[in-house]
């Protein structure tokens, strides 16, 4: 709960029930993987529970959780980039894939084209467009969550849209 002594309005369970769907949706769209999205949510809510701080509103809690998800997802992003590089090297040197790699490829295949397109965006653009489209946040809110100006948010949202338009076009999904 929001630590009874700090905030009496809502319990941890209420916060969890109310915010999990949004936090999970954002986590999934940033990482493109349900398991990793669960890991991010787990970490975010644990950190929230352990934090001895009051929040003036449930929205502030949401922003805080999203900030944690975004930061943790950066670590995941770096790991994924390393894995991808290692996998590319492996593909060049090996004739066959082991089961794990095959499974990964299959997962990649079954993932929807929308998620595949999002995955192709650089992390800084992906986070912003995800927060805009799936989080329903304003430029101001996004800017304050990730620590950039509203103008910067505006540019990133626009660039993300431009890139997505190109990616969809390559996939023969026409947006215009």
């Amino acid at each position: 709960m929001l630590r009874g002594e700090e905030k009496k309005d809502f319990t941890f369970e209420e916060v969890y029930r109310q915010l999990f769907p949004t936090i999970f949706r954002i986590s999934y769209r940033i990482t493109g993987d349900t398991g990793i999205a669960e890991d991010l949510c787990h970490e975010a809510f644990i950190k929230y529970y352990e934090r001895k701080q009051t929040f003036p509103s449930i929205d502030e809690v949401k922003y805080w959780l999203i900030r944690v998800v975004r930061n943790v997802s950066l670590n995941y992003e770096k790991r994924r980039a390393r894995e991808r590089m290692a996998f590319d090297r492996y593909k060049k040197s090996a004739l066959t894939f082991d089961e794990g790699e095959e499974e990964k490829l299959l997962k990649e295949e079954t993932r929807g084209y929308v998620q595949r397109a999002l995955d192709k965006l650089p992390h800084n653009l992906r986070v912003v467009i995800v927060l805009k489209e799936y989080g329903g946040l304003s430029y101001k809110e996004i800017g304050s969550i990730i620590g950039i100006s509203e103008g910067n948010v505006k540019v990133r949202v626009f660039r993300a849209r431009e890139k997505l338009a190109k990616i969809f076009e390559e996939e023969k999904i026409y947006v215009s």
Binding site: F20, H42, I46, I129, E133, K154, V157, F158, E162, I173
Partner: protein
């Protein structure tokens, strides 16, 4: 003169000042190129939102359990013990039948302690049955020698309960002194306070 594309994108998001927004709207109405740009951005938004996200309910439940486990583990490590209501209302879920069985066992053990049942040395077998009607049946298998003590305990106990003593079907009793138990293999004793 056409506005920059990022302005059209911001217009779609309703992020422009009202005066700027009105001018952009006016321009878009008369400019096929900007109209098309706006339509493309709208289409991208629709594509993103139409894509079905994975069902969060299963994940919600899974993560909840993981949080509870992590929290209990960290509390254990810190040696803080479990404070009542400090975490998720301290609700520990386990199957209902198990809960009922545990409750019945606790009641029975309580009964044993408070009503001083015949020495546990004499109890060879105990079976607890919960009837669908809600009646809890506690079957105790005790040696014949302990029946006297059992009856005495029931006489001294301060509760209203129906007690059925079922003797082994092939029991044989000698008629010595004043018989406490009649020849019937079973009798029902109702003690009203």
């Amino acid at each position: 003169m056409c506005p920059e594309d990022d302005i059209i994108s911001a217009y779609l998001d309703g992020e422009l000042d009202s005066s700027v927004s009105a001018r952009v709207e006016e321009h878009i109405a008369d400019c096929p190129r900007c109209k098309e740009k706006l339509r493309a951005f709208q289409r991208i938004s629709h594509i993103l939102l139409e894509d079905e996200s994975p069902d969060y309910l299963a994940s919600m439940e899974k993560v909840k359990r993981r949080i509870q486990i992590s929290q209990l583990a960290s509390e254990g490590k810190a040696g803080r013990g479990i404070e009542k209501n400090s975490w998720w209302h301290r609700k520990v879920e386990f199957p209902l039948p198990l809960a009922i069985a545990a409750m019945v066992l606790i009641i029975f053990l309580g009964f044993m302690v408070f009503f001083k049942m015949p020495s546990s040395n004499g109890v060879r077998m105990m079976r607890i049955k919960k009837e669908p009607s809600g009646v809890t049946e506690v079957q105790v298998s005790a040696p014949i020698e302990d029946l006297e003590a059992l009856l005495k305990t029931m006489d001294n106990s301060d509760f209203k309960k129906e007690v059925i003593i079922q003797l082994p079907p092939k029991s044989q009793f000698l008629m010595v002194g004043e018989p406490r138990i009649m020849r019937e293999a079973e009798f029902t004793r109702i003690r009203l306070k």
